[in-house]
Symmetry: C2
Subunit: 425 residues, 2 copies
C-alpha cells in the first residue's frame, strides 16, 4: 500500500476516534437535531444530488456496467425522498445510549448495573447504492458512534456530496464533522487499511455481496458484524395445517426472490407430502418457479402429473438462489429435516409449519439459526418487521449481534458500580 | 504446519462440532450430573492427579523454569479440592440455556422473542495452570457448549489426565465425550490451526499473559473473547470524602498487586492533593510501594517531607505494573483526569472517588471502560464479586462480552418467531 493512502486512512481514523468521544456525550436532542438538519438538506439539495449522481451513472454506463448495477447506483426523486423519510424515522427511534439497568446490590455492598454505550468508531464498507451513505451514517450517529464510510468507487461523486450534506447537518447541531467521514479515494488499498486499523475502528459492517464479505473476512483484523448468505428453509411437518402451509410457503418463496430471507429449500414430511406438494407446486410452477427435487418428491409430484422437474444435486442444497428456483426434499421426520438444515443451512432463518407444540418446541430449541420461526414466512426476518425501526444489516454471526441488527447492535454494555467506600477483603 | 497436525486438529474440530449439537440439547439436570461426576472423580483421583502433576513439575524444573512458573503448574491437595468445589459451585448456577424473553406481538401479528443458546464450540488456549482445564471445561459444559482445550505443553501430563476424568464424567451422564477434548500434541502449530479453523470453532478464549494474547491476535481468524491488560485508574475528585479516598485507594493498590484489576495509576484533583496525598502516600511507602510521580505531586509530597520519589515517565502512564509500584498524577479537574484515562488506560476498570453526584455521573457516562466505578475499589471488577458465579475471563473487547465474562458470555441470543400463518405483504 502506498504511504499516502496509509497516512490518509490513519488520519481519518484519528479524527474519527476523537469525534467519537463527543458523539458518546451528545444528547439525544442534539443527535436528533443533526438528523433533522440532514433530512432538510437532503430535500433542499435533491436537484443537486440527482445532477451529481448522474455523473456517477454516466461513468458507470461508459464503463459497461450492467442495468442492474446502474439501477442500484441511480438516485431518483423517490430514492432521495425515501432517504429523508428514513432520517426522520430514525429521529423517532428511542435513543439507546445512557440507558442503565436497575442497580443490584452485591454481597460486598457495591451496587452493580450496566449502562448502554456506543461502540466507538464504526467502519462501513459497501458497494454501489449511495443511499447507504445516509442510512448507515444516520444509524451510527443516533447510536452515538463516529463512522467511516467507504462506498463503491462507482458512486464516489454521489457519496462525496452526501457526506458534505451530513457534515453540514452535524455542524448545524454543534456536533463534530469528523463524526461522519467518507473515504474519497477510490484506491482499493484504503479498504485494506480500514479493516486492519484496530486502534481506530471498533467494528466493520460490510454491506454487499458474498464475494465482498469473503474477501474482507480473509484479511480483516477489526471485528466484523457481517452477513454472508441466507439459505433459508421451511419444514412442513406431518401435523401442519395444509392451507397455512401452502399460503406461508408460497409467500416465503415468491413474494420477492432477491432478499436473503427468501426460502431456498422446502423440506416436507413424507406423511403429508402427497397432500401438500401437488397444490403448492402448482402455485410455484404457475409463477414460473423452477423446482429442483429429490427422488421422493419427484415420484409424489409425477404421480400427480407434474412435468419439468429438475433433479436436485448436492450443490442445490447449498445454493442461495435469490431467484425463482426452489429445491425440495421429502424427509422422514423432523430429525432428518433438522439434520439437513444443520448440514446445508447458513444459520440465517428457518421455519417449521406445524400444529404440534412438541415438534415446534424442538425445532425452536434445536435449530441453530439467527431466526427460527413457527408457522410464519421466513420473509419476516427483517429489522423493520422485528420492530427495530431500521437495520444496519443482518448478522450471520453468533457473537455480539445475531439476526437483524438495529441501533442496539451498534452499542455495548459497560458495567457500572456504585459504591459507598467498599474495599475488597 | 505438518499435514498430520492439521488433520488431527480438523478431526478434533469435527468431533467437537458434532458433540456441540448434543450439548445444546442436554437438559440442565444432565449437565449438572456430569459436573458432579467430574467433581467426585477429581476427589477420588486426587492422589493420581498429584502424582501425574509431579511429572510435569519435575520436567519443568529440569527445563529451568522459574519458581513462579512452577508454582502455577503445581497442583496441591488444596488446588485439587478447590477444583472440586468449583465444579459444585457451577452446578448451583442457573442454567442460562433455553431461557426465552417474553414474546412481543409485532404489527404483522407475529410474536417475537429471543432465546438464549450456546455459542457452539469454544476453544480455550491457556498457559501453565492445569486447573484451568477443569474450570474452563465446566463453564463451557454448563453453558451447553463443546470445548477444545489447549493448555501449556509443560502441563501436558496433568491436562491429559484431567481430560480423561472430564470425559468419564460426561459419559457417566450420557453426554458425548467429545464435548470436552484436550489437544495432546505439544506441537505449537496446533494453536495456529485452532485459531483459524472458523468452521469448527465459534470463539477462542485465550487465558494467559499479554504476549500470548498479542501473538494470537495477530493470526486469529476465529473471533476471540480476550483480555489484554488492566491499566486501572482511580481519580480522587475535589469533592471526595478524605477517609474514604484513603481507604479505597489503599485497597485498590495494595490488597493484591498481581491481579489485572489492581490500580496502577492514581489521579488526584489539585484542590484536594495536599490533604489526601501525604496521608495516603505514607501508607503506600510503609507498605513498600514505589511512587512514580509527576512534578505537581512531587512538590506536594516534598512539602510534607516525603523522600524516595521517582519521576514518572511517559512510559509509566502506559504500564501495567502488577507490582508494588504506583504512578501518581495531580490533575486540574475531572476533564484532565478523563483525558488521561482515555489516552493511557486499557478500558478495563476505572474509578472516581467523589460525593458530587454530577461529577460521578459524568465519570460513569464518559469513561469508556468495561467497568466504571464510583467510591469503590477497582479490585471489585471480578466475576465472583459481580455475582456471575464464576468467570471464564475478563474481556477488554467491546463486542459481545465486556468486563468479567460468566456463563452468559458463552451464549448467544437467537430470535424466535411464533406465527399463526402470517405472510408478508
Amino acid at each position: 500500500m502506498s504511504v499516502e493512502i496509509k497516512d490518509m486512512m490513519q488520519d481519518i481514523g484519528k479524527r474519527a476516534r476523537s469525534a467519537s468521544r463527543a458523539m458518546a456525550r451528545a444528547s439525544s436532542e442534539q443527535k436528533n437535531q443533526a438528523l433533522l438538519h440532514i433530512a432538510n438538506l437532503v430535500r433542499q439539495k435533491a436537484g443537486e444530488i440527482q445532477k451529481v449522481n448522474q455523473v456517477d451513472v454516466e461513468r458507470a454506463k461508459t464503463n459497461g456496467q450492467d442495468p442492474a448495477f446502474i439501477d442500484r447506483l441511480a438516485m431518483t426523486a423517490k430514492t432521495i425522498e425515501t432517504m429523508a423519510l428514513g432520517l426522520e424515522q430514525i429521529v423517532s427511534l428511542e435513543d439507546p445510549i445512557g440507558k442503565t439497568t436497575s442497580l443490584k446490590k452485591q454481597a460486598s455492598g457495591i451496587e452493580l448495573g450496566q449502562m448502554r454505550v456506543p461502540l466507538g468508531v464504526i467502519g462501513i464498507i459497501y458497494e454501489s447504492r449511495p443511499n447507504v451513505t445516509i442510512d448507515a451514517a444516520a444509524l451510527c450517529l443516533k447510536s452515538g458512534n463516529a463512522v467511516i464510510l467507504r462506498g463503491g468507487s462507482e458512486a464516489i461523486d454521489s457519496n462525496t456530496l452526501l457526506a458534505q450534506i451530513i457534515q453540514d447537518g452535524l455542524a448545524a447541531a454543534g456536533l463534530p464533522k469528523d463524526a461522519v467521514q467518507v473515504v474519497t479515494t477510490t484506491d482499493r488499498s484504503a479498504v485494506g487499511e480500514m479493516i486492519t486499523m484496530t486502534e481506530y475502528i471498533d467494528v466493520i459492517v460490510p454491506r454487499g455481496g458474498k464475494s465482498l464479505i469473503a474477501r474482507l473476512m480473509a484479511e480483516a483484523r477489526v471485528p466484523m458484524i457481517k452477513h454472508l448468505d441466507g439459505i433459508c428453509h421451511t419444514y412442513i411437518d406431518a401435523d401442519a395445517d395444509l392451507a397455512m402451509a401452502i399460503k406461508v410457503c408460497d409467500n416465503a418463496k415468491t413474494q420477492r426472490y432477491a432478499p436473503c430471507n427468501a426460502m431456498e429449500t422446502l423440506l416436507v414430511n413424507q406423511a403429508i407430502a402427497s397432500k401438500v406438494l401437488p397444490q403448492l407446486c402448482k402455485i410455484y410452477q404457475d409463477k414460473g418457479v423452477e423446482l429442483r427435487v429429490d427422488a421422493l418428491t419427484r415420484s409424489t409430484l409425477e404421480a400427480s402429473g407434474f412435468k419439468n422437474l429438475v433433479d436436485a444435486t448436492e450443490e442445490d442444497w447449498q445454493t442461495e438462489y435469490l431467484a425463482p428456483i426452489l429445491s425440495i426434499k421429502t424427509v422422514a421426520d423432523i430429525d432428518e429435516a433438522m439434520n439437513h438444515i444443520e448440514r446445508y443451512g447458513s444459520k440465517h432463518t428457518d421455519a417449521i409449519i406445524t400444529n404440534n407444540k412438541a415438534q415446534a418446541d424442538r425445532f425452536l430449541r434445536e435449530v441453530d439459526s439467527a431466526s427460527v420461526m413457527v408457522n410464519a414466512s421466513t420473509r419476516f426476518a427483517d429489522g423493520f418487521e422485528y420492530g427495530l425501526g431500521a437495520e444496519i444489516g443482518i448478522s450471520n454471526d453468533k457473537l455480539h449481534a445475531r439476526g437483524p441488527v438495529g441501533l442496539e447492535g451498534l452499542t455495548s454494555l459497560k458495567y457500572i458500580v456504585m459504591g459507598h467506600g467498599e474495599i475488597r477483603n
